[in-house]
Amino acid sequence: MPDQSSFTRRGFLKGLAGACALGATGALVGCGGSSSDSSSSSDTSSSTATSGTTHKVEMVTDTGGVNDQSFNQISWSGLQRLQQEEGWDVSYLESKQESDYATNLDKAVDDDAELIWAIGFAMADAVGNAAKANPNVQFGIIDNANPTDASNITGVQFRAQESSFIVGYIAACVSKTGMVGNVLGVESDVLRQFEFGYKAGVAYANKEKGLNVQCESQYAESFGDAAKGSSITQRMVSDGCDVVFQAAGGTGVGVINACKDAGIYAIGADMDQSYLAEGTVLTSALKEVDVAIVDVSKRLLSGDLKGGSNITLGLSDDAVGIPEDYSLMGEDVYNDALAVEELIKSGDIVPPATSDDYDKFVASL
């Protein structure tokens, strides 16, 4: 993926001019270090060489682990970028069980982290409790709104329906059989964004191009079951699907492998997954969690952004989108997709994120 970082970061940072590493942070986060048990403060705290204020940011993965080829991995790369570029102190804690969420968040607090990222909506309750117990520490949660009214949690969500809409559009244009598929993880609001955005993209292409592409989708009810992803995909292939979009975390790895075996196209999610199967992954519905983490971390710790808010990022923030590589879909389809992207950015198309909105969207076509 050529020059992805500059592509994704352009514009998003516009509104943040000069936000990086301002002295004002002390007012907000200084108290994190002076919490009640400061006597036992860790000796590993900030000792970085970079000039300016350094911060300590940690993240807690969900049960997928840090090398999940997906969500947690991108998040960690975001933190690593903060370390490289800003000299901040970063680390992560891996959760093996759901019950690890609370204790890992707790350990991050003990480590005097000023900002702690919880990766994934599964951790909403745990973050809510941790924030309540540690009012002086900032928390961020990905893919979930602030689960409480706490003023020290920032919820970061993505309009994944926008990128899903585009890949749905692409899928419909590329499909020769007139059938496309969609394998999803555990049913939830976040996953519905993918589901209905994708379906709407297909419907839009049908109308625009006079196609009659059908879309079938199924929840694997798991984010970590590659075998199940594979078997669902095989069924979809036998139904005639020739493009399958996965939005299922680790389960999706099985989807992509099954597509490769069947010789059909797969569409990745979250990160550009073309490296998983060259020539099979048509495109990916990017969800630039790393960009969001880098940006929101800086804004929160600089005092530019107050905790307790919810941030929703979409195409116009360059936080979602598709990669620039269009070798598999061809230039025409890619250009059409970019045109659709512009329509979404301009608000002419509002991709649906729920079943109701989808019905309305289809009716309006």
């Binding site: 969420y101 599964a122 909403a124 939830s188």
Partner: protein, 434 residues
């Protein structure tokens, strides 16, 4: 003095300690070769285990299910059964407890026993089925229990996916009703009154508020002692051990082997089930969630049981150690930045060495034997030189213990030393027992 060394080496606790030390040594080599400072890593490990009162409490909380499952496996093993299904029975315990805990909303005095009992019964039933298949049709428990692990896992995922239980926008179910919670003072500690009272006692505040301190460990320790007592001091335990060590002799002696196998699996399954139930009632998120893979409470219980040499009471320290390694390992990752694989290798190495602890008594045996041979040579030399065998006299005096065990000694030294009839038949019998 040398005899003291041998005696000390023969003690199970010595072999455990030496094994742990060797484990750390090997782990240090692994860490160093991966480019991480072993000293700092172990420092992080221990500070993550016992650095704060809260950590100790968390280790205990994490040890609770491991202890239950460890006892369950150890108990079954004493009866000659390899309950590799602890994992599945644990999961069934969590599933049943969650279902009942969500479905029923009763006062705590009823809700807690009901929820815990439902989990226990679920585990027990699964164990009963495995035991029954073994007793009735001779289907090996390892095969059935592995299958049950997967059945339980997918049952869990199925229950999570049901609309009644599934909490929208999560990977899990709703939490059980809070009347089922078995934490210590769950409401008071978060109330204003409680917060005010605790503010003056930082240690208690730290421990109570920021951890899910719950009654599980108390139940688990009681269970460990009870199972140990059951095996050692009751007629039922006696029968079960007889079945475990020699089925044929047990049957011959009028013991109902089949009944004991089923009963053993019921108890073993119940222990795993109660572990699951108490984890639901005792720690957040108080519900189950979709499992992509096993959470390993049961499998780690297997390791705990074997570290403990299948002694239920010894499972208590073993589970604490194991939980400490797992929990403290996360701090190593956090502070050293070592990838979790390295941490897993480190923990695995330590556990592996502990499992090899049985080598130590053999080492003692070896030292004793070679020492005896040397003493014998010295005696011969002394005799040849015409000197009075003072050394030999001192030697034999200090070997009183060994002399008492004399009839057994040659058989131990080498099975071939005994008459072939005995040694080879013994081998056969041992094989059967295994």
């Amino acid at each position: 003095m040398n005899n003291t060394v041998i005696k000390v080496l023969r003690k199970p606790i010595t072999s455990a300690i030496i094994a742990i030390l060797i484990g750390f040594l090997v782990a240090a080599i692994v860490l160093a070769s991966a480019g991480y400072d072993p000293g700092a890593s172990f420092a992080a490990l221990f500070s993550g285990m016992v650095g704060r009162p809260r950590y100790i409490v968390n280790v205990i909380i994490k040890a609770t299910p491991l202890l239950f499952c460890g006892i369950a496996v150890a108990f079954a093993f004493k009866v000659g059964l390899f309950n590799i299904g602890a994992e599945g029975q644990y999961i069934l315990g969590t599933v049943a407890a969650t279902i009942v805990g969500i479905a029923c909303d009763l006062p705590a005095v009823l809700e807690i026993p009901l929820v815990v009992l439902s989990g226990t019964i679920a585990g027990a039933l699964s164990g009963a089925l495995i035991g029954w298949l073994k007793a009735k049709f001779g289907i090996h428990e390892v095969i059935t229990s592995i299958m049950f692990n997967w059945i339980s896992l997918y049952l869990c995922n199925y229950v999570v996916s049901l609309d009644v239980f599934h909490q929208p926008n999560t990977t899990g179910t709703y939490a059980v009703h809070d009347t089922a919670f078995t934490m210590i003072l769950p409401n008071w500690k978060l109330s204003d009154e409680g917060q005010a009272a605790l503010a003056n006692v930082p240690v208690l505040r730290d421990v109570l508020v920021r951890c899910d301190v719950n009654v599980g460990i108390i139940v688990a320790v009681v269970a460990a002692v009870f199972i140990g007592w059951l095996l050692k001091r009751t007629k039922m335990g006696y029968e079960m051990r007889a079945v475990g060590l020699n089925k044929d002799a047990a049957r011959f002696a009028g013991i109902n082997v089949e009944k004991n196998i089923v009963l053993c699996m019921v108890i073993s399954g119940a222990l795993c089930g109660i572990a699951g139930a108490l984890n639901i009632t005792g720690i957040s998120p108080h519900g189950i969630s979709t499992l992509a893979a096993f959470e390993n409470n049961g499998f780690n219980g297997l390791s705990v049981a074997f570290i403990a040499g299948c002694s239920p009471v010894a499972c208590i320290p073993a589970s604490l150690l194991f939980a400490g390694l797992i929990y403290g390992g996360q701090t190593v990752q956090q502070t050293m930045g070592a990838p979790s694989e390295i941490i897993s290798i480190m923990i695995g190495t330590i556990v592996f060495c502990m499992a090899l602890g049985g080598v130590i008594p053999m080492l003692a045996e070896h030292i004793q034997r070679s020492r005896a041979e040397r003493a014998e040579q010295a005696r011969k030399l002394a005799a040849e030189a015409g000197a009075t065998p003072v050394a030999a006299a001192g030697e034999s005096g200090s070997q009183k213990d060994e002399d008492a065990a004399e009839p057994k000694a040659p058989a131990e030294a080498s099975p071939k030393a005994a008459e072939p009839t005995d040694s080879s038949e013994k081998k056969g019998a041992d094989g059967d027992a295994r």
